[in-house]
């Protein structure tokens, strides 16, 4: 595989972009930062499948496409299966000798938001990973159905306000915990699973390249700060993402073959989750006196998760 140099940003910047501008994503959207980085991690030909969601409705609205690669969108739930189908066709045609350029290196990639990954497309993803197709699935996790105006998903964290899990006089927002998708995908025995974040571009690029290079199904959950629904200024996307990784709300780690867990980023100064929450309008209500306990609860869970990840890393099981 033709992986590109990620030694430093200068080297990385010599890549030729394959996601064009004038897509319709919001100013400051992290989705396109993540997608661009994936596309720049390899020079191989790509077949990209995308679930319905912000990325899809913003990059392929007739009469425009922003993709300089082969690209397909079918429905909300089935990008993993579209990629799997294309991958199966590639294998069949390679065997039969009907490919136009049989030696051209190719990678299969699927993108989905957390709505299509954690919720409606969960089964399709699970099936494609279980069958062992050679593809990389990347979840652009902005923790809500941003494309339809910010409804809750099973990736929405406790305490966040969404339009279908609202904060109000008698509610502090979403009551349930965020689904641990990384653990679920690791439990499939996928050869490479990770949670990565665009503010740590190099660890993200390394993870992307590992996934692309690994034969078999790989899953990566990426943190995609959503200026519109998390409610922060578009210029602050990377700042908010820094708070996410440094408060350990989004720990960055990989799990190889379902067992070997490696933490990929240890903040020098771990900041309280309160700072992360305070930077976003969706958590504003938590700073009312009656909701203080929710912040304490979130902090406790973050601490426990970090402890768990470190013990898993140490135990190598």
């Amino acid at each position: 595989m033709a992986i590109t140099s990620i030694k430093n940003l200068k080297e990385f910047s010599t890549n030729n972009e394959r996601l064009e501008g004038a897509h319709l994503l919001c100013p400051g959207c992290a989705h396109s930062m993540i997608v661009r980085e994936l596309l720049n991690c390899t020079d191989d030909n790509l077949v990209v499948a995308t679930n319905t969601g912000c990325l899809e409705v913003s990059t392929a609205v007739y009469p425009y496409t922003s993709w300089d690669t082969s690209w397909i969108h079918i429905g909300f739930e089935n990008a993993a299966t579209a990629a799997a189908g294309a991958e199966a066709m590639y294998k069949a045609r390679k065997r039969k000798g009907t490919l136009k350029d049989p030696d051209a290196p190719v990678k299969f990639v699927a993108f989905g938001g957390d709505g299509s990954t954690y919720d409606i497309g969960f089964q399709w993803l699970s099936g494609a990973v279980e069958r062992g197709h050679d593809f990389t699935y990347i979840c652009l996790d902005n923790e809500n159905y941003a494309n339809t105006g910010g409804q809750r998903s099973s990736a929405t964290p406790t305490g966040a306000h969404t339009s279908t899990a609202q904060a109000g006089r008698v509610s502090y927002g979403k009551k349930q915990k965020k689904k641990d998708m990384v653990a679920i995908m690791a439990a499939h025995g996928a050869p490479y699973v990770a949670q990565l974040s665009p503010n740590k571009w190099k660890s993200m690029a390394k993870g992307f390249q590992k996934a692309l290079e690994t034969e078999g199904p790989c899953f990566i959950n990426t943190v995609s700060a959503c200026t519109t629904e998390w409610k922060f200024d578009p210029k602050d996307t990377i700042h908010v993402t820094d708070l996410a990784t440094d408060s350990l709300m989004f720990p960055i780690y990989e799990i190889i073959n379902g067992t070997e867990l490696n933490i990929l980023y240890r903040p020098k100064n771990i900041i309280p989750v309160e700072e992360y929450l305070a930077a976003q309008g969706r958590y504003r209500h938590l700073f009312k006196p009656e909701n203080r306990h929710v912040i304490d609860m979130i902090q406790k869970e973050v601490n426990e998760k970090w402890e768990y990840l470190q013990r898993r890393e140490e135990a190598r099981v």
Binding site: N45, V47, A49, E56, V57, A60, V61, Y62, P63, T65, W67, D68, T69, S70, W71, I72, H73, I74, G75, E77, N78, T81, A82, A83, A84, G85, A86, A88, M89, Y90, K91, A92, R93, R95, K96, T98, L99, K100, D101, A104, V106, Q123, W124, S126, G127, A128, E130, R131
Partner: protein, 411 residues
Amino acid sequence: MAEKMELNEIEVWDGNHAAAQALRQAQVDVVAAYPITPSTPIVEGYGAFMANGYIDGEFVMVESEHAAMSGCVGASAAGGRVATATSSQGFMLMIEVLYQASGMRLPIVLNVVNRAVASPLNVRGDHGDMYAGRDSGWIQLDAFNAQEVYDLNLCAFKIGEDINVRLPVMVHQDGFTTSHTAQNIRPLSDDEAYAFVGDFKPVDEMLDFSKAVTYGAQTEEDWHYEHKAKQHRALMDSYTVIDRVFEEFEKKTGREYKRLETYMMDDAEVAIVALGATVETCILAAKQLREEEGIKAGVVAPRCIRPFPFNEMRDVLANVKAVATLDHSAPMGAMGMLYNEVAGAMVSTQDRPLITNFIYGLGGRDFSINEAKRIFREQKGHADVGYITTEIQQFSGLRGPKLGFYEMKRS
């Protein structure tokens, strides 16, 4: 390379095995499928070919029918021959993706082994699933027996993949009645069959990396209408290719297919319009009535449900006095589909026959030759007095009080 299979001049196959054999001979590149009664033996049969070295393509057993059609769409856009099979609930789960496949103009072949749709759950044959697909933008071919299942599968690839068509094609057969009933089949040899179907010709393939293509873009009000209208036109115009492929098939095998099949219609006074295995029942009934009672009965059967053979229907029924349309699906609040299609065709001509509608055989209830004869006789009664003497829509073979709706309005 896949091994060839030596076939006898006459094989004993049921409809499912006939479909599996046709898929093998067409050298499908990707079959993505999920098993469901009564179509399961198609994918089981294909799996057996796979396990024994008869298949070069990929066989992807997915986790649901929705995923089966999703995998087919991804595979087809990647530029190769694709097929699958399903029934009933699986078909219903697939419906979202059926529209996406046709909208993207992907020539996938889907074997639909017709079965009733729950609730209540039922594994037997009726046409509930087939009818649910009629607005999905697919060409729908209907086989009335196992030989036709085999023949129409080979034709389906050639029709759908034609550069002037590029549409997905369903091949329907009746659950159990056709799918599980073994009969004598005359297959082509592997070489002849593949030569007839021909190599797949990719269009806008995702695996041609010299030019990137985007599949599945969104279109809003400025563009959606033209796209859907164009898709409709492609479906309407596909009849020329269907006719040509049927002609080529006849030259090769001597077996003749028409988009609208007609039996004993030259001098028919009364007719039944039906689909599926029932057509054969009605043909036998018509023959017997002609011999025993001198009733000039005939049978009309759309081989092609979509595009609907509107002109052909109008022509063949022009001189018929009374017609019964038989719908093997619960109409739920309206006349049955065949009634509506036939009435729609006949209302555009001066010579309108009296048209009635029978709902029959839901959930696999038997439809006998005697019942077909009774329906013919009833039409003869209408023809003789010049009006419909019964309710326009009736339920055939239903227990309890007679169920019927609407009467003819006479001035």
